[in-house]
């Protein structure tokens, strides 16, 4: 793939947003500041800082964070020498009020995320982001669930609302490189030439780096990675590995491979509560196409109700649950436990 030599791409760090999932949203403000400064010094151009489920995600359903979105953003943004900071927003969870707050804190990029078939709920947020002069990204989650042609219809909607960049997101870590190629290539063909295309991967089948390279080859110019791989499920594409591969291939990221691997090793890995890696449960996410953030909820349900997390995850996949339905994990576990005679009849 030497034909990719010289291509410039922008990597976008997820460890302080997607990485909030394996941390149960408990990353402290001090940890955020330290890691963000490390990323900044390593040359990472864009860093996402938000609750794992986006602005306004603080809830019983997704978890209450150690600090508010506003506190995190106000702590991190002033410390950045070159890096910019982004925020994620899922309509239905966060509102335009959150978007305005984040812009007031100084984020330059707003990413509006919907399930891959529901782009039309993002109109009010994308159009406002664009009107406010923000780098406005439409983020289509669980993009493996529909065919490329259908997916691009949704991408075109987000573009029509004013998004200047469209992400195709492998939230379940389910896609294989050929799936990525088919979707990104069609997006590149159908979207306006000036609309950037991005890819966000999860490492549940160990495909994070390979999928991201396939995305670049098909025309993506923004790639989400997480330093140290800290993200939901088996984590996101590990940034230090991706940057190393890009260096070998001549793809320019502007990130220093040794500095970023030091951040991963010295700052990110030490704060993990458990190794973010492929185990039987995160493997199941990728294998069955289940939303990566469901992992810890399924583990907790296993501990409480005695139904194996893997079986809960498979059932959630069978029922075609989408991102945001974390409440259905406990519900499903209770129903399964009852069917197996693990609960008293009264419950």
């Amino acid at each position: 793939m030497s034909h990719l030599k010289g291509i410039q791409i922008k990597v976008h760090d997820m460890s302080l947003r997607d990485g909030m999932h394996p941390k149960r949203h408990q990353i402290t403000i001090e940890q955020m500041k330290t890691i963000a400064q490390g990323l900044d010094q390593a040359g990472c151009p864009l860093i996402e800082v938000t609750h794992g489920d986006g602005l306004g995600g603080a809830s019983v359903n997704y978890g209450f964070p150690a600090a508010t979105d506003e506190q995190y953003l106000r702590a991190v943004i002033p410390l950045m020498k070159q890096a910019k900071v982004s925020a994620l927003l899922l309509p239905g969870i966060g509102t335009v009020d959150h978007l305005k707050m984040a812009a007031d804190c100084g984020v330059t990029t707003i990413r509006v995320a919907t399930h891959c078939t529901e782009a039309d709920v993002s109109e009010q947020h994308i159009s406002l982001g664009r009107k406010m002069g923000l780098d406005t990204v439409g983020f289509l989650m669980m993009a493996h669930m529909i065919e490329p042609e259908k997916l691009i219809e949704q991408a075109l909607l987000m573009e029509s609302y004013g998004a200047n960049c469209i992400y195709l997101t492998d939230s379940a870590g389910y896609m294989l490189p050929e799936d990525v190629t088919a979707r990104i290539a069609l997006a590149r063909e159908k979207l306006k030439p000036e609309t950037e295309i991005g890819f966000h991967g999860h490492h549940n089948l160990s495909m994070g780096v390979a999928n991201s390279i396939a995305a670049v080859a098909a025309g993506a110019r923004r790639i989400d990675c997480a330093c140290g791989g800290m993200g939901a499920g088996a984590g996101n594409t590990p940034m230090e590995v991706f940057v190393a591969v890009c260096n070998r291939m001549g793809i320019q990221t502007g990130v220093d491979v040794f500095k970023i691997s030091d951040v991963a090793e010295d700052l990110v890995t030490p704060i993990m509560d458990f190794p973010v890696r492929i185990d039987r449960n995160s493997l199941t996410l990728g294998y069955a196409g289940v939303y990566s953030s469901f992992l810890l909820f399924a583990r907790r349900a296993e501990a409480k109700y005695g139904v194996p997390a893997r079986e809960i995850l498979l059932e959630l996949g069978r029922q075609k649950m989408v991102g945001g339905q974390e409440d259905m994990i406990e519900d499903t576990a209770i129903t399964m436990a009852r069917e197996r005679g693990l609960l008293k009849a009264s419950a």
Binding site: V60, P91, H115, E118, V121, Q124, G324, M328, I334
Partner: protein, 301 residues
């Protein structure tokens, strides 16, 4: 038996489903369907059911309100035109049941505060949102037992049951529902989340209600209160079902609901829409019963 005559404004899916429900009511009689499009299927369907129709909006009906004895109107159009519709009809002494998100009148969640509204002779009541109708009774079921410092609801609806109006302004749903969860549900703070799921065949509406109590939850009393409330809602939405719970986890009390519609005009999975039309019908029936019993006279505003 004498029935109170009603008008439905908005001949779309909601308006048509309302028509079916009103036709079954022992105290209500739908007589007018109001639209703006002469080619509307909904208006044609209403004519087949013997209703008078107009494609000139509310203005097309105003001259007939008195002669036809219309006393209650349902607005199933949009927040933008609701105030105008309401003002014109209130002036003629017609009370308004608002199914739009306009919310110029007080929120009405039948098992909680319908009696109070009828007693106060409100001329405009608002039906909150579908998520609100499905969840606020369960918040109240906990808050009437003990103090709830925070309540959060997650409404998951099938993609096919969410219309373009809701999609264009989904923030309105989260804001309005959260406000009513707190104000009507009786929690100090409210939060609402909506998730849209495109699975085929379409999933039946699911709702999860989390309450955080100030003190240790009184399990027995809450369980009883929740069961009573489910039975209360089932009187007008038979497909309202407690799937799991209440689950007690520290100070968290969680109920997992399913809302299946009656399948009048809307499909059964669209429990989110059915609970709106059913709640609106229930509300109108309570006002109608008061009028018929001579305890309530609607006056021109």
């Amino acid at each position: 038996m004498k029935k109170i005559k009603c008008a439905i404004i908005g001949p779309g899916n909601i308006g048509t489903d309302l028509l079916y429900k009103l036709k079954r009511s022992p105290v209500l009689e739908p007589v007018w369907m109001v639209g703006v499009d002469p080619t509307s299927e909904g208006l044609a369907r209403a004519r087949e059911h013997g209703l008078k129709t107009t494609d000139q909006g509310v203005d097309g009906m105003l001259a007939h309100v008195k002669a036809d004895g219309v006393q209650i109107a349902f607005d199933a159009t949009s927040a933008y035109v609701h105030k105008d519709n309401s003002d014109k009809l209130n002036k003629l002494g017609v009370m308004m049941i608002d199914l739009t998100p306009a919310a110029i009148g007080p929120y009405c969640v039948p098992p909680i505060n319908l009696k109070e509204h009828a007693g106060k002779r409100e001329m405009n009541v608002n039906m909150v949102t579908c998520g609100g109708q499905a969840t606020i009774p369960m918040v109240y079921a906990v808050s009437r037992v003990q103090k709830v410092r925070y309540a959060e609801i997650i409404a998951t609806v099938s993609s096919k049951s969410v219309g373009p109006g809701t999609r264009k302004n989904i923030d309105e749903f989260t804001r309005t529902t959260a406000g009513a969860v707190s104000r009507i549900g009786g929690a100090d703070e409210g939060k609402a989340i909506i998730v849209i799921n495109p699975a085929e065949p379409p999933m039946i509406m699911r709702d999860t209600i989390h309450c955080l109590t100030v003190d240790e939850p009184k399990q027995k009393q809450i369980e009883e209160s929740v069961r009573d409330m489910v039975a209360e809602v089932q009187k007008y939405v038979p497909g309202y079902r407690l799937v799991n719970g209440p689950v007690f986890d520290g100070h968290r009390v969680t109920s997992f609901m399913q809302v299946e519609g009656l399948g009048d005009f809307l499909p059964k999975y669209a429990g989110n829409l059915d609970i709106m039309t059913a709640s609106a019908t229930r509300t109108a029936e309570m006002f109608a019963e008061e009028i018929l019993a001579g305890r309530l006279t609607l006056e021109a505003a």
